[in-house]
Symmetry: C2
Subunit: 285 residues, 2 copies
């Protein structure tokens, strides 16, 4: 398919169904034009999904890939307590990925996007040996209220949503559900938050680095049925939320306590009295 | 290099040098947080740059690649008459691209970004067989004043900035200069605008499709010294601006008349009395 026809086809697959006063221009111009509401901060996040790094053709349909590519960004918006609005999709296609495959990608992507009010408003297309997607999600949070990784204090209680290691147990074949509703419930309650994309050990390490605290995990974790301890601690792609809540503040329903923050070496994570390595999924290892 | 170290290094290469009240959070959280000014529209654009599609290692240094990857998005912002502010850089690295190469990429990227006040505030990193960059640029234009591809009317005069085919003459080795200053001068004057990334024939065709008009090119074009007619009409990557200005309105300095819009078949481009095919650079051919 040549570029003009491909872009026209993608534009057809992404025509917004409802009138959105915030969207001045979507696909079809040099830039998309968005009008933010007063009193909002803009949230921006980018996530790559690459064949044989993040998925395999054997185990993931085109729609699974599209879903996953958007889910990663939506989960980042959830982690900030934000509302997701728009996506830009950059797509590098191998020879084998024809019109039907591209349609499948956008079907999966828009199935998830439709649930959260997210429309594709731009992107780019090109050629590549391996299928590569980069999805940028633009969202919003009330001014100054976005949740950050920094902000956790000694004494704050650590919580996670859902069950740890469920993606690993499924062999990473599940379609992840970004926790946008849970994230928004944390606004004004959580002192810090991030999403669990690379496993509790690595992500909690990152949160502790930004907040300059040490985490002491409880002995018991809300592991997914069938998950090994390693999967619960270091399984990637759960896309659950990890947050800290000041002692005395009630966490919203849907969160389970996993530990407490202490003063100590910034970034250190301790489990059952032992220091954990920042193990987790890492494409560079 | 493992992911945590790589991200820390990239963060170090992209620490903003001056305090920016619009940037609430850059690299290091789940999302970047940006505060737009009142009365502004947000502009968003994404551009892929892929090894052996958009550049070759033999002819482009790491800094050339970084420059080019940002230049494509800045040129899109220029085409809307906007001001560029921030970039998100998603980077998929082959084994051969180590820390020194990555540093070179960001040096080139930030050399160009520094000239236009653009800071890298986020992105993603992963592995890939071929070096792949996706750069998203966020910019702004006064509310309702961004230039569009639609809007050209029959009778409007067609202009381009600079010389056509200069990138083709250089063998695509030049560092493109996005025309942000020229784009802003078109606000309130041009009826339509876009940037020339794929050659005059293809891009003018696109503008005519969006504006539902036919273009009649003059017999003489401002071709770059040494450019063939084919290079002037279909050479890609000039990153000059193509615009239309109502008859009687003066185009800013730096623009040369190349033709006039007519009522007719939407999308048609005529040159020397003949219909031009929408030839131009296309990664899918």
């Amino acid at each position: 398919m040549e570029e003009l026809r491909l872009i026209a086809a993608i534009r057809g697959m992404n025509t917004p169904r409802r009138r959105d006063p915030g969207l001045v221009a979507g696909i079809g111009d040099d830039c998309a034009i968005v009008r933010m509401r007063a009193g909002e901060d803009l949230l921006l996040t980018a996530d790559l999904v690459i064949e044989d790094v993040h998925f395999r053709r054997r185990t993931h349909t085109a729609a699974d890939v599209g879903w996953k590519a958007l889910a990663r960004g939506l989960s980042d918006i959830a982690a900030m307590g934000g509302e997701a609005r728009y996506a830009l999709v950059s797509l590098a296609l191998p020879e084998w990925a024809g019109g039907r495959y591209v349609r499948g990608l956008y079907e999966g992507l828009n199935e998830l996007g439709g649930r959260h009010g997210v429309a594709v408003i731009g992107g780019d297309v090109s050629r590549s040996a391996k299928l590569t997607l980069d999805v940028v999600v633009a969202g919003a949070a009330p001014r100054g209220q976005a949740l950050r990784r920094k902000g956790a204090k000694a004494g704050d209680v650590i919580y996670v949503s859902g069950a740890l290691g469920h993606a690993a147990v499924s062999g990473y074949r599940e379609r992840p559900e970004p926790r946008l509703g849970l994230g928004r419930k944390l606004r004004g309650r959580a002192s810090a938050c991030m999403d669990l994309s690379d496993g509790l050990a690595m992500d909690l390490h990152r949160l502790c680095v930004e907040s300059k605290v040490t985490a002491e995990l409880d002995g018991v974790l809300p592991a997914a049925p069938g998950a090994t301890l390693e999967q619960a601690l270091s399984g990637g792609e759960d896309y659950e939320l990890l947050c800290t809540v000041p002692a005395g503040v009630k966490a919203p329903a849907g969160f389970t306590r996993v530990g407490v923050m202490k003063a100590g070496r910034p970034g250190e994570v301790r489990f059952a009295g032992m220091k954990l390595g920042a193990g987790g999924w890492d494409p560079f290892r």
